[in-house]
């Protein structure tokens, strides 16, 4: 017998012991991991990354170790590994804690910093929303309030307008801030949780979100019962007239793997169009929050396969349930001059 696997000479308090202890290194996660599929290398698998986290925690690897830096950024954070883990390892939480150390302050990728700066300022988000004409202020009985995603307000303002049109009694509060998912995934975990709590306090009643990534983070901090993602709500509350369209779906990783919401958008699309299941609809499109900015090369490689699949399926529309995925798919489809359009599920349900 060589050396005990779990002997920890000292711990640095970066990663929670109970989260690390849950992993027994069985390797069931390997086939679910998109980055392991790219390299076939242990350190770019969930199991291998947890080994790295353990060594960071014990100090056997220095915080500036190049493999630690590379792997904490190479990971998509898609959490596909969690759905196949019988031991119940909360990989997403481990990654957040890891990046909290690895991407702290000046170690954070420079391209992420201005995004966090914008998302930290509610007044900037309010002005962005009003310039881009996202959903306008509306006060109702407060049973449901619409969450206005920060980058969605700037990039896809029609989404909040469509939801406000589909749900005439939902409240809209343009003076809301960011939910903090961006922070939690990019090395500011505590700030990310604080922003989610603030948003939960500010918005009344059930919070309806149009972004799978935000939904998962918000639910994680303020409780699942207060958060309803748009396709869940639409399935219960909208007309489902069939349209002559071939439609595919791109899951939001955190919505699917974190909240377990994936049947709802499919059912919605199945009722309203000819639904085509893309072979990799459930796996990451490469947008992965800031990944498309931080890891351009890998993000493009993942996207290229996705676009080829969409082209092969000859779709009219491919539907996204998260603004990051929507932007990623639109970019890829535009570059390949595809006839397929990428549309947010809320815009799609409104017939836009």
């Amino acid at each position: 017998m060589s050396e005990k696997a779990d002997t920890r000479p000292a711990t640095r308090g970066v990663l929670s012991k109970d989260l690390l202890d849950a992993c027994i290194s069985c390797g069931f996660c390997l086939p679910a991991c998109p980055t392991y599929a790219m390299t076939g290398q242990e350190q770019s698998s969930p199991r291998g990354r947890i080994t790295l986290m353990r060594l960071l925690e014990t100090g056997e690897l220095a915080p500036d170790d190049p493999t630690l830096a590379e792997e904490s950024s190479f990971c998509l954070g898609c959490r596909a590994c969690e759905t196949v883990c019988p031991a119940g390892v909360q990989y997403g939480h481990l990654l957040e804690e890891w990046r909290d150390e690895q991407w702290r302050g000046m170690k954070r990728p420079w391209i992420v910093r201005p995004l966090l700066t914008v998302a930290n300022r509610t007044w900037v988000l309010r002005i962005l929303g009003s310039v881009r004409r996202s959903a306008r202020k509306r006060k109702t009985d407060g049973q449901r309030t619409l969450m206005l995603g920060c980058f969605e307000r700037a990039l896809f303002p029609s989404v909040s307008r469509s939801l406000a049109a589909l749900d005439p009694t939902i409240s809209v509060d343009p003076n809301q801030g960011c939910c903090g998912a961006l922070h939690a995934h990019n090395g500011e975990l505590e700030k990310g949780r604080e922003l989610a709590r603030e948003l939960g306090d500010r918005l009344a009643g059930t919070i309806i979100t149009t972004s799978g990534g935000c939904a998962a983070h918000l639910a994680d901090v303020i409780g699942r019962e207060r958060v309803v993602e748009a396709s869940e709500w639409l399935l219960e509350n909208s007309e489902t007239e069939k349209r002559p369209l071939r439609v595919g779906l791109q899951d939001s990783c955190h919505l699917r793997n974190g909240l377990g919401v994936w049947k709802e958008p499919r059912e919605l699309l199945g009722r309203t169009a000819a639904y085509v299941e893309l072979p990799s609809s459930g796996s990451c499109c490469g947008a992965a929050g800031t990944y498309a900015l931080v890891r351009k090369k890998e993000s493009k490689a993942i996207l290229a396969k996705k676009i080829a699949e969409i082209e092969a399926a000859d779709l009219d529309l491919v539907i996204a349930v998260n603004p990051g995925c929507l932007r990623q798919l639109q970019t890829g489809l535009r570059k390949s001059k595809s006839r397929t359009k990428a549309v947010h599920i809320v815009d799609y349900m409104r017939g836009r």
């Binding site: 017998m1 060589s2 050396e3 005990k4 696997a5 779990d6 920890r8 202890d21 849950a22 027994i24 290194s25 069985c26 390797g27 069931f28 996660c29 390997l30 086939p31 076939g40 290398q41 242990e42 350190q43 698998s45 291998g48 080994t51 790295l52 060594l55 056997e60 690897l61 170790d65 190049p66 493999t67 630690l68 792997e71 196949v84 883990c85 019988p86 031991a87 119940g88």
Partner: protein
Amino acid sequence: MPTAAPLPPAAIADLKSLLGTRVLTEPGALAAYGRDATPLFRHAPDVVVQPATTEEVAAVMRIATRYRLPVTTRGAGTNLCAATVPLSGGIVLSTTRMTELREVSRDEMLAVVQPGVTAGTLNRAAAAQGLIYVPDPGSKEASTVGGNVATCAGGLRGLKYGVTRQYVLGLEAVLPDGEVIRTGGRLVKDVAGYDLTRLLVGSEGTLAVLTEITMALVPDPEAARYGVAYFASMADAAEAVRDIVAGGPAPATLEFMDTVCVNAVEDFARLGLRRDAGALLLFGDDGEPSAVDRSLARMADVCAGRATHIDLAESVAAAEDLLAARRCNLPALARSGSMTILEDVTVPRPQLAEMVEFVARTAQRHGVRIGTFGHAGDGNLHPTAVVDGDDEAQTAAAMAAFDEIFRRAVDLGGTITGEHGVGAAKLPYLEHRLGPEQMALLRRIKSAFDPLGLLNPGKLGS
């Protein structure tokens, strides 16, 4: 055994000029290759290589021979006996770039694959031609065909179909000096020479590096049905198993788990299993539909006398869920402790009830929490200790309990490992099973293949 001397820079340079970026030397990457799915064993290699072809493997072996470097071949690293932990450092030869699925032939009912193809991938390719790949380890989505062959993987189909060794028709393998041999082939009958194919199956990377595998496939049965019977105790379930096997043709599946395992699996899979039962028996059969119905009815009948409750799976999906739940038993158990130490003792079927009772008594006597599951029809048990990895006394108590369990299994005419392999984890118990004469013969066989002792030192044949 070659010692863990620092790797000469010239060796790294030779490997890099051969494989370029498919050579890993960063300490973080190496550390990730320092363990497999076995707890308590850890040792990092000095370098990891990812060859893609037989020629590249042969070139790596020539470099290893030139510099006298230990080589540990690794597939997915899901084995449970520390077979892929490079105890002497040196080279880890990873097969994850050898993923070419060369052929699936319906006519000849065989597949030809490189060793890094996963069992799951081969299963799906075989299914597309109406065939199945028989080895069925719990890790089959992740584990590689090369690893399945190197450890002679068993799984959930052993009773009726046998294990990996019955299905390997031919192998291509690279010897430590870089020579390439081909054993067996596509033939059902071939007695030319010693059966080196069978010798290499289960040799755990100690004799040669497998580079191509020709694997027999079998027709996908027309129908498969499963049911679950609950018992007050594991011994009751074991007696039912004995009667089922004694009373008719061997069914495809007879798996059992005790109440600790049932609850762990139910926590993960949420299938509505009965948490209050002392033991669960998953029984199933496949083949022609009416024969399957008869077989299920017979098994349910035999169970009826002792079982507290019997459920038949209504749909194929429900049956798949049951099997999937059974396969994830080990990691599911890990939910209740920070470390699981799992064993693999196997006894003749008539001694099964006695063995499960002995396991339970021994666990109690040592104050260790042991959950037992396993392939009841094969007499193959997986008693699993769930311990706090930080508590050395708990680990020591578990090891002491297992020491007794191994000895008892051998005394009952059984073995120390049915399907997980020897690796580094069971090596201390191997002589008790084989005796000194066979141990010496193993070493002579090892040195005939590997006179310099480069391949996976500190394991079988050492």
